[in-house]
Symmetry: C3
Subunit: 340 residues, 3 copies
Amino acid sequence: MNIEYHLSDILNFLGAEASDAKDVLITGLASLENANRGDISFVANTRHAKSLAECNATAVIMPRGYENDYSGVCVFSKDPYLSYAKLSKWFDTAVKRPAGVHPTAILAGDATIGADVSLGPNVVIESEVLISDGCQIGANTFIGARSRVGANCLIESNVSIYHDVLIGDSVTIHSGAVIGSDGFGFAPNGEGGWQKIYQLGGVSIGDRVEIGACSTIDRGALDDTIIGDGVILDNHVMIAHNVRVGDNTAMAAFAGIAGSAKIGKNCFFAGDAACLGHLEVADNVQITARSYVTKSIKKSGSYSNGGLPLMESRKWRRNAVNFGKLAKIVKPVTDKELDG
Amino acid sequence: MNIEYHLSDILNFLGAEASDAKDVLITGLASLENANRGDISFVANTRHAKSLAECNATAVIMPRGYENDYSGVCVFSKDPYLSYAKLSKWFDTAVKRPAGVHPTAILAGDATIGADVSLGPNVVIESEVLISDGCQIGANTFIGARSRVGANCLIESNVSIYHDVLIGDSVTIHSGAVIGSDGFGFAPNGEGGWQKIYQLGGVSIGDRVEIGACSTIDRGALDDTIIGDGVILDNHVMIAHNVRVGDNTAMAAFAGIAGSAKIGKNCFFAGDAACLGHLEVADNVQITARSYVTKSIKKSGSYSNGGLPLMESRKWRRNAVNFGKLAKIVKPVTDKELDG
Amino acid sequence: MNIEYHLSDILNFLGAEASDAKDVLITGLASLENANRGDISFVANTRHAKSLAECNATAVIMPRGYENDYSGVCVFSKDPYLSYAKLSKWFDTAVKRPAGVHPTAILAGDATIGADVSLGPNVVIESEVLISDGCQIGANTFIGARSRVGANCLIESNVSIYHDVLIGDSVTIHSGAVIGSDGFGFAPNGEGGWQKIYQLGGVSIGDRVEIGACSTIDRGALDDTIIGDGVILDNHVMIAHNVRVGDNTAMAAFAGIAGSAKIGKNCFFAGDAACLGHLEVADNVQITARSYVTKSIKKSGSYSNGGLPLMESRKWRRNAVNFGKLAKIVKPVTDKELDG
């Protein structure tokens, strides 16, 4: 694909000034190390600024103060990383599928499809579904009865959306994701087995949410599972039934939130971080990689219980075998303390 | 959807008595806090009984002894949570697809389809497959050659079932699940690479099993991977090749059982709990969240090796850096002890 | 299925000698314990050799020296496990779909399909895709624009491959896997929310790679995510954007490599092992189960930070509550040390 932009248009879009009035052509976006002539690059971190001298990019987005280190066009930004993020869309190579319903899509007669919607091959849309304007629905995706998808959503291929799921505007859902599957609800049946609890709630997802590949969000047992606006979920994330996730909270891969937990706004769950069920986590809480919330957190901050020092396995085992003696050498714990 | 039941029918179904002979109409099922007029609710835990006074439900399922706390109709049950679980099916809003083969389903000529089966759009059924009476197979699901699905199974959309998989009666499989994929079997090829070991076994799944979204059960290397009756698996569960899981065992999200492990009956693996390969776990064993079985367990009970106390990350790091000194301060471990 | 081979053909294929010139018929491949008359079996480990006396197999692949323990035909191999692995393909019961494009497959006019390719039902192939000779693409699989699949690949059902993904020869991809989904890239937007960073790189996968069910490999932010030749990934593996994985590295289920990490050749990540972002791991490194790389590893060897001793939960809690006192009893850590 041949992409070509006038630098002046980029400056307008970013609201940025340049060190040079020359309106060069920009044909790519690249990191400082890999940029070639024609590319625009960016100083993501001023620690990287020392490589500016060797950078081959035609233009570089940078904070003021580094213009002497670089011989190309300097594009000034107070937040070059954010400017790069905004500009990245101009260089996206993902196919924007044309509006229209593929002849193999299967559409219930009472579904409502907005304007400028693209329904890919083999898409299945059940009864009373609403797909709002500007949505793109990828091949082989299923959307169950009465679910509603807001405007300008991008739902990739092989996504499964069950019945009675509400999705806001500008939501992206990646392949393999499952929204609205049954929560893991079973009652002991008194005979050693399990009685399934039918999951009567739905899922409600806000605006500008991103849901990664193979992530799952279960429907609520009685009420809805709720994902706030601006929430971003990486791949393999698990949101159990009745969970509430506050606006703009981010969760990296393998993060898991157990049933009925309530996570605040602007939280960050690092990779493989988790929260046990029925707990509450305040706003602005960070859970570090592989840590998990074992009691409610009322105060913003960073919390951990995972991440011991990496060492040679033989050394690790020497230490680990002694873990079971901590109670003896540090402080014996009475039954009363443990249960208290 | 308008759901309306006579309380008398509910009492009959549950085999329960009520505090009041009036045959009210019930239009919903809700928690004590969220119930409105018309709803039936339940006391899941007697700790919640104090909210009975403010509960707006028309009827509440409860143990005897709380009737003075509540002004509506009391429905008496020794196990209100189980009664709720049983009753939940009456309020399920999932679409029951009508029997029939969707015109876009692709069906091998020698496949056998029972009575009252619903095959959704784009379902693909290979040669010699058997789908028994009363099954519902969701859109875009694939079922490979010679696999057999028992009666009254619900297989959701976008499920992948490989060849030679045996599934019992009344099994539910959620979207994105994969049954019968190759076990992770490779032999070092003597040249630094890997020789694939073709996985010749199948998968055998009992009756009344539930398999969550994006969970995977690999086929056996030589013999079958076996899942007992009544097993319930949450989302993102991994069952490796040759594993055997005993009847009624439950596994929460991200639980993983490595190759050839044998898990007993009525076990519970909490979220992210696991078992290493080739081990045996007795019946009635609980593995707590994020713990994993490192040696065979012969005695029922609850076991852990995960779940350190959550603390502020800075404090965590102060403690964690000292982990590598445990062997020194507690008890040095000799090479002989470590290998023994 | 009736499989029947002459032992002489098996000996030729393996380049092996037998203890007996009789050209028996072999009808199955089984473990020592489960083998019946007609089967060929193998001594995977000389610890198992003692069961040779009771083995009912017609022939057993074994190292020299055990022929007196066994009354059937001995097939001699220096590496019986590798011989078994090679031979396993002869007994594979997976359906080899005939070459041809299923009438329901949807193929862009400018896609290129090689010789002897099987495209299953509902396969969707976008513009400018290349599928090389001998590939089998399973039902309901999606392959996005400009992606290229090398020769003799097996891509199972319900796989999602995004645009601009390069796949080498003889690659196997299991159901539910997602290749080329967006990396988890977002910049804080200065208003408490997130600005998506469009992911402009692709994914490049070498030859002879195996990718397990429900595993995900994200596309790069600017450059490609790269998987070397001979890499084997189990189910539920997560490879984030810009990661590089060296040749022949193996990763078990739930392994996760965070963004921009560079993993060497011939490494092994056990189940649930992980690596934080932007780190480098040397060749020939093993990370044990549930451990994760917190700093770059420059020297080959086995490393751990997970795997504490399993104990009864009550005893575990007694020890775990003391973890927060390690810094006191072992060695106080100053702020300077922690930040240093």
